[in-house]
């Protein structure tokens, strides 16, 4: 089934590129969505099973694959709207790249060895580069260049981390770098090697997770990428980076390197929060502000992992909910740019008057992403703070709370300004565009799911997260 999925997906990506008809291209994109739904159902049915030697439907993989599948149809739908004025060639390139990106992300989630995971992560870089360059502007070229260059350097560093794992393993066993076989021999490994391998993996895959110190690459990509693509870069693609780091963290968690890894993650997390707070306070571009919000959330995820205990559950819950809330905000950016013709804060305003449905998405999304009740993210952030209290991490807690206050202030004042105030600089104000409120339906559904989690967590979700973290130390 998985082989069929990969073959059909890549074939669909290929034929989309060659299509000469807009309707056919859209049909291929929808067919891919159906295929992704099918493989997700298959993954749920076969949880715990391995297929094609290198892929396993474990709980973490199924969880993240389900998030990707949930976002597929809204992404494809908003992609249709974004590309409706494009030429057939550019429409084809966009959807072909999108299909390839989602296929590679699915492969990365399901990979059960570091090498295969690394190959899929590298492949996502190429696919997403095509999508960032979609508008063919000088800015797009610059952002794409930075993305490919820094990601490739980062991924080369991650590869060094994987090779260090090979050194730990020894030559005879090197081909079996699977997570399960690794766990049997890892306890005898030299902790220094484990620490170096973890540092390489963390720095390398931070380019994908958008975590400090490699966060700049995704921030720039967001400035120019089409909004539906930004939605994927900021959510499911960041989840790919998270998964790679999480896999190695889980693998090493039973070794003396655990405390070192936790401290490094907390440090990276706090620095991410600091950078996010600082830049959000001076943000002048709406999409860049949302990108810094993603940096903030990934920082919180890193802190949660580092703190441990309740933090493990909170980290995975935050990853899921952030994906839903942030993607809906990025989809909304597509409509906002059609109404206001800009992403610049100085030139934005009166959004509630011009497009009430969109402004409601912005307001609700802001409440969700800032973890203000009734957002489900409030639960996960509360759990992180609880884990800090239980583990006596008072300094980290104080820093986190202070920085979160700055972030709440920065983001809420800017969203309020866009929704209710007049533009500060209206000299170049264009005639507001017209957008149907129906386009916001998918965004409201995703935000409703985030709010629902605050009151009720479905048993399948808690079960999936609990199983995912079962191998981590209590």
């Amino acid at each position: 089934m998985l082989l069929l999925f990969f073959i059909l997906s890549l074939a669909l990506s290929g034929v989309t590129l060659l299509s000469r008809n807009r309707g056919l291209t859209r049909a291929f994109a929808l067919a891919f969505s159906a295929l992704l739904i099918a493989i997700t159902v298959h993954a749920w049915i076969n949880r715990g099973n391995t297929e094609l030697t290198w892929f396993t439907y474990d709980s973490t993989a199924v969880l993240l694959l389900s998030v990707l599948t949930l976002l597929t149809l809204p992404t494809v739908y908003h992609g249709f709207i974004y590309t409706r004025d494009d030429t057939v060639k550019r429409l084809n390139i966009y959807h072909s790249g999108l299909i390839a990106l989602m296929t590679f992300m699915a492969g990365a989630y399901l990979a059960n060895t570091m090498t295969v995971l690394w190959i899929f992560v590298e492949a996502t870089t190429l696919a997403v580069a095509v999508l960032i360059y979609h508008d063919r502007t000088e800015m797009a070229l610059e952002a794409t260049w930075k993305y490919v260059f820094i990601c490739s350097t980062g991924i080369a560093l991650a590869y060094l981390g994987i090779l260090f794992l090979g050194f730990i393993y020894g030559r005879g066993d090197a081909p079996n770098l699977s997570f399960s076989s690794f766990s049997h021999v890892i306890s005898n490994a030299n902790p220094l090697y484990l620490k170096i391998a973890f540092i390489f993996v963390l720095v390398g895959f931070s380019t994908k997770m958008g975590l400090f110190p490699m966060h700049t690459v995704t921030i720039d990509a967001h400035s120019v990428a089409p909004p539906p693509v930004s939605a994927l870069i900021s959510t499911t693609l960041m989840n790919v980076g998270f998964l790679a780091i999480y896999r190695v963290y889980t693998l090493f968690s039973g070794t003396p390197a655990l405390s070192f890894m936790s401290n490094v993650l907390i440090l990276a997390g706090v620095l991410s929060l600091l950078i996010a707070a600082g830049y959000m306070l001076k943000a002048k571009h709406l999409k860049r502000m949302l990108a810094y919000s993603s940096l903030e959330n990934m920082g919180l995820v890193a802190i949660a992992l580092g703190v441990g205990g309740y933090g493990y559950y909170a980290a995975l819950l935050l990853i899921v909910l952030h994906s839903l809330a942030k993607s809906s905000l990025f989809y909304q950016m597509g409509q906002l740019s059609r109404i206001l013709h800009t992403f610049r804060l100085d030139e934005s305003g009166r959004y509630m008057k011009l497009y009430p449905a969109g402004a409601m998405v912005l307001m609700t999304g802001m409440i969700c992403i800032l973890a203000i009740p009734p957002s489900g993210m409030f639960i996960s952030e509360l759990m992180i703070l609880r884990a800090m209290v239980v583990n006596g991490q008072w300094l980290v807690m104080a820093l986190t709370v202070i920085l979160l206050c700055y972030i709440i202030y920065a983001m809420s004042t800017r969203i309020m300004h866009v929704s209710f105030s007049s533009p500060r600089n209206d000299s170049e104000l264009l005639q507001p565009g017209m957008v149907s409120p129906v386009e916001t339906v998918s965004q409201f559904i995703l935000l409703a799911l985030v709010i629902m989690i605050c009151f009720w967590q479905p048993p399948f979700l808690t079960d999936l997260i609990s199983t995912s973290i079962s191998s981590l130390p209590r």
């Binding site: 490919v148 991924i155 080369a156 560093l157 060094l160 081909p175 090697y193 170096i196 860049r288």
Partner: protein, 204 residues
């Protein structure tokens, strides 16, 4: 013999710090490709012939011929011959490079492991540091490209160290990395203005 080649490889890295002409950089990249090919041939005695041919083709075709050719094309197009825009002066760069070599040797001694030759480890770490140094201390995009290729060579050298038991998967990984290298050089190298550092549009 392998040790001589590795030491020669280290010399090319020190040369990177002192060179001022872009054409010298290109020759050094080509020479590194050739040296990596030699190291692979002498080191990988236990791999099968097909795998060895694959690695030799990778190093000879991509690293020694194609990538230097693309770099030369970019340099010819831009008309810039000297690396005259460094964030730090050449003297300090040389000092940093030597410090990098010392750090790499110390790390390799600390990380002594029965599965890996310490000389390999030291030079691979030194290659990585040199690549990152080229990226961080140079302002021209073309220098960044060359720094990236040096980082790729570090990865290759590391993977050669455990290459005898390497599965084909790692070769695919290396090939994919080279593919990205070609993409960066072939596409961006020619479209961006590689002789400038005009990447300033995206900022807060």
């Amino acid at each position: 013999m392998v040790n001589y080649l590795i030491v020669l490889f280290a010399v090319t890295l020190i040369y990177f710090a002192s060179a001022e002409r872009l054409s010298t950089y290109v020759r050094l990249v080509a020479l590194q490709g050739l040296l990596l090919c030699g190291i692979a041939v002498f080191e990988l005695k236990e791999v099968n012939l097909a795998n060895l041919l694959f690695i030799v083709a990778e190093t000879l075709l991509f690293k020694t011929l194609l990538l230097p050719y693309l770099l030369s094309r970019i340099i010819r197009k831009s008309g810039v011959t000297k690396v005259h825009r460094q964030a730090v002066s050449g003297f300090y760069l040389l000092l940093f490079s030597i410090a990098g070599l010392l750090i790499s040797v110390i790390l390799a001694v600390i990380l002594v492991n029965p599965f890996i030759n310490s000389i390999y480890l030291a030079i691979a770490l030194f290659t990585l540091l040199t690549g990152l140094l080229l990226i961080v201390t140079h302002k021209l995009i073309i220098s960044h490209l060359i720094g990236f290729l040096v980082v790729e060579n570090a990865v290759f050298l590391f993977s050669l160290a455990i290459g005898n038991e390497m599965p084909m998967l790692i070769n695919i990984g290396i090939l994919l990395d080279i593919f990205v290298g070609v993409l960066i050089l072939g596409f961006f190298g020619l479209r961006l203005k590689p002789h400038t550092n005009e990447l300033t549009m995206l900022k807060d």
